[in-house]
């Protein structure tokens, strides 16, 4: 079941909290006793979507696991900004091994926990793996697919900001078409990242027919928390792909991070849905439909589309992709599926 939005309560479930809701219906993030799994003092940029998404997701996972959680982390922004010696921002047991092996490390943790439980030496400790899009869709993809295929008891969370931001904004296989990166400069006949490349790992995850696959954004906290909670209630391999805007890499204002995520969803650029065992089970409907231009224009990585002579044809191609998402996932259907 998808999240049922609470209606008629001023802000319903759109805001982080709502004093009018019963305590059990409130979000994890609204709780004064939330874990703050990723604590203050981390070195993420101002307005970092990944820092936000990670706290949202891991706090929710902590809540769902009764705080019995271990995390494996791929190399990347999240790792670098959270654990530079001599300080760590993590308040949970956490390990960073390599860029491309977070899923496998998590498999190892889960295996160890399973044996320890059999021996009565451990409680029901749950495992999450997390990484950016580079560590997930590119270099970590082999380990990720292996973990899926074996149906290991791991929730893998990908924080997708559409590129290798830690190394200076290079292209990844999650970089969207036309976007400028340091390795897809806005030059030549097809400026920015080429069309027809890249991969949408949630769909590939679904092809593994694992128990749960979902996408989310930092703009829909309740949906995100619901999905993490749902995932934590299941066993086996689970995958959540969270869109986390990057002010640095996208060229957006630090205060617009959530707004950008919202625009990505509302324009249909980023479909927010969930799937179980390879079948789509829900999609978060677009609430206030907008043309993709609304999403593209505020981002400097698309600035070359809006010069003196706007790249109308390119924008139309991006719109066509959004329209395809809207058709494919039924994003304009009134009722939340």
């Amino acid at each position: 079941m998808p999240l049922q939005p609470v209606k008629f309560y001023q802000t319903g479930t759109f805001t982080v909290g709502n004093r009018l809701l019963a305590p059990e219906d409130r979000s994890v993030q609204a709780n004064m006793q939330r874990t703050n799994s990723l604590n203050s003092g981390h070195r993420a940029c101002q307005g970092c979507g990944e820092a936000l998404g990670a706290r949202y997701a891991i706090d929710a996972a902590m809540n769902a696991s009764n705080r019995q959680l271990i995390a494996a982390n791929a190399t990347g922004c999240l790792e670098v900004f959270s654990t530079p010696y001599p300080e760590t921002s993590w308040q949970i047991p956490w390990i960073h091994s390599l860029f491309g092996n977070a899923a496998a490390v998590a498999t190892g943790i889960a295996a160890a926990i399973k044996v320890k439980r059999q021996k009565g030496q451990s409680g029901d400790v749950r495992v999450v793996a997390q990484g950016g899009d580079g560590g997930t869709t590119d270099i970590g993809f082999g380990c990720l697919s292996g973990m899926f295929e074996r149906n290991d008891d791991v929730l893998y969370i990908c924080y997708d900001n559409g590129g290798y931001m830690n190394t200076g904004v290079q292209r990844s296989s999650a970089t969207p078409p036309a976007a400028r990166t340091a390795t897809t400069m806005p030059l030549g006949p097809e400026p920015g990242n080429p069309f027809g490349q890249g991969k949408f790992v949630p769909a590939i995850a679904m092809a593994h027919e694992i128990p749960y696959v979902a996408t989310a954004t930092v703009a829909d906290l309740r949906d995100l928390e619901h999905k993490v909670t749902k995932a934590m209630g299941l066993r086996g391999a689970r995958y959540i792909h969270i869109l986390v805007p990057c002010p640095l890499g996208w060229g957006t204002a630090s205060h617009d991070t959530i707004r950008m995520a919202r625009l990505a969803k509302e324009t249909g650029i980023f479909p927010v849905f969930s799937a179980e065992y390879g079948e789509i089970k829900s999609a978060l409907a677009i609430r206030r439909p907008l043309p993709v231009e609304e999403y593209l224009r505020p981002q400097k990585r698309y600035a070359h589309l809006f010069g003196k002579s706007p790249a109308v044809a390119t924008i139309a191609r991006i719109q066509a992709q959004a329209d395809k998402n809207i058709r494919k996932y039924g994003l304009l259907e009134k009722e939340v599926r």
Binding site: T83, Y85, I95, A106, A111, V115
Partner: protein
């Protein structure tokens, strides 16, 4: 209990006796029979409380091992050759994080050209990865070293590679004395990790360390290996007390007391060398053997002590440091610095090339007369090599060397028998 079995099987049984909790398996010859054996034991229920995970690559194998070891599980895996190279990043990571994983490396050559037969190129390519590397001379030693390896690794929080010659040991059926579970349990206590991922006591493992502390971290890795230098002989002694036989230690000498020439080697070739030495001693040659069991940490003092009365040494190694010569030899030379010894490097047995008593007798005889080249390639087919060098000189597009030489030779079978 004495039994006749394949080396891989013996190792698998020994590993099982160590009560591993997580085993990661990815097939690569010649280590496959070990993990096959373990997988069978887990599946049949003979080995309980153990997760056997079929991973999708060696990189994943070591990564899974990192995760399980960091969660406090006794963790084992095995690999060889290309597999070891494919997991290298994780190999370094495991030692950097101080995780006591035990891994068998069934030694095999590295391509190209692809070659499945034995030499030590794979393990020795990882000599600086921070793992302890123990080389087994026989199947008995291979299985015994695994039992010691877990204890050593867990005491020091360092991973240990047990290196055994691919095919020559792994696939050889020999008589071994298989210890009992009680013996192993008496020797090897349950794993008590130095650090563990535990919700009750959370830590962050794997921080980014900058210039302000990186040198210290690296030094500490070295210091731990220095501790291992002390611990390895002690463990061999403790092992002897429980199991009643000699095994392990840093180095092993054979007829070195009066030897003028000492042959230094690692692994199964020591058996052939000892046979040769026996024959030569019978003929009056003052020759002895020094086997190196612990290549990392490298026992500089033990090697120097063993060589202190000889006149020359011959390092016979199944590896080649391309562009300089020997790998083991270079290490030995550091041990004998200032001792005024003559030293010869012999590269032998690469890619499974047979090392025969005949060839060794000739070699050692020459060495005894100090007529050996400083760097010798044992049984090298100079004719094939020169032909190819000539071909390359004359023709720009001379094609792949290996295939050209195979054409020249006609067959390879005679050379590996």
């Amino acid at each position: 209990m004495l039994k006749q079995c394949e080396g891989s099987h013996a190792v698998a049984e020994a590993v099982a006796l160590c009560r591993p909790e997580v085993i990661c398996a990815y097939p690569i010859s010649p280590q496959t029979h070990i993990v096959e054996g373990l997988g069978e034991m887990v599946k049949s229920g003979d080995l309980t409380d153990c997760e056997f995970i079929n991973v999708e690559s060696e990189f994943a194998a070591m990564s899974v091992a990192i995760g399980s070891s960091a969660t406090g599980a006794r963790t084992y895996t095995a690999t060889a050759s290309q597999g070891l190279l494919f997991m290298v990043e994780a190999v370094y990571n495991a030692s950097g994080l101080g995780l006591p994983i035990v891994m068998t490396v069934a030694n095999r050559a590295i391509g190209a050209p692809i070659n499945i037969w034995n030499d030590h190129s794979d393990s020795l390519s990882q000599r600086d990865c921070g793992w302890i590397q123990l080389f087994a001379e026989s199947n008995q030693e291979a299985l015994d070293l695994h039992i010691q390896a877990f204890k050593l690794a867990e005491e020091l929080s360092l991973p240990v590679m047990v290196c055994m010659d691919g095919f020559i040991l792994t696939h050889a059926y020999e008589r071994v004395d298989m210890p009992t579970q009680a013996q192993v349990d008496a020797f090897l206590p349950p794993y008590e990790p130095r650090q563990v991922l535990d919700p009750a006591d959370p830590v962050s493992i794997g921080a980014m360390v900058g210039p302000e502390a990186f040198m210290e971290v690296r030094y500490l890795a070295h210091a731990k290996q220095m501790q291992a230098l002390e611990r390895i002989p002690q463990l061999a002694e403790e092992f002897k007390q429980v199991f009643g036989r000699e095994c392990g230690g840093l180095v092993r000498t054979y007829c070195t007391e009066d030897a003028e020439t000492i042959v230094i080697a690692m692994g199964s070739v020591l058996g052939t060398i000892k046979d040769t030495v026996d024959e030569m001693r019978a003929a009056g040659h003052k020759i002895g053997v020094l086997g190196i069991t612990s290549f990392r940490p490298f026992p500089l003092l033990a090697v120097a002590a063993a060589l202190k009365n000889c006149k020359r040494f011959v390092v016979l190694e199944k590896s080649l440091a391309v562009g300089i010569g020997g790998i083991v030899a270079t290490n030995v030379r550091m041990a004998v610095t200032g001792m005024g010894l003559k030293g010869y490097t012999v590269v032998a047995g690469l890619g499974g090339r047979a090392i025969t008593v005949k060839a060794l007798t000739g070699l050692f005889d020459k060495a005894g007369r100090d007529e050996l080249e400083l760097l010798t390639f044992l049984d090298l087919d100079w004719n094939a090599v020169n032909k190819q060098l000539e071909r390359e000189k004359q023709t720009r597009r001379s094609g792949p060397a290996a295939e050209a030489m195979l054409r020249d030779l006609g067959t390879v079978a005679s050379k590996i028998a």
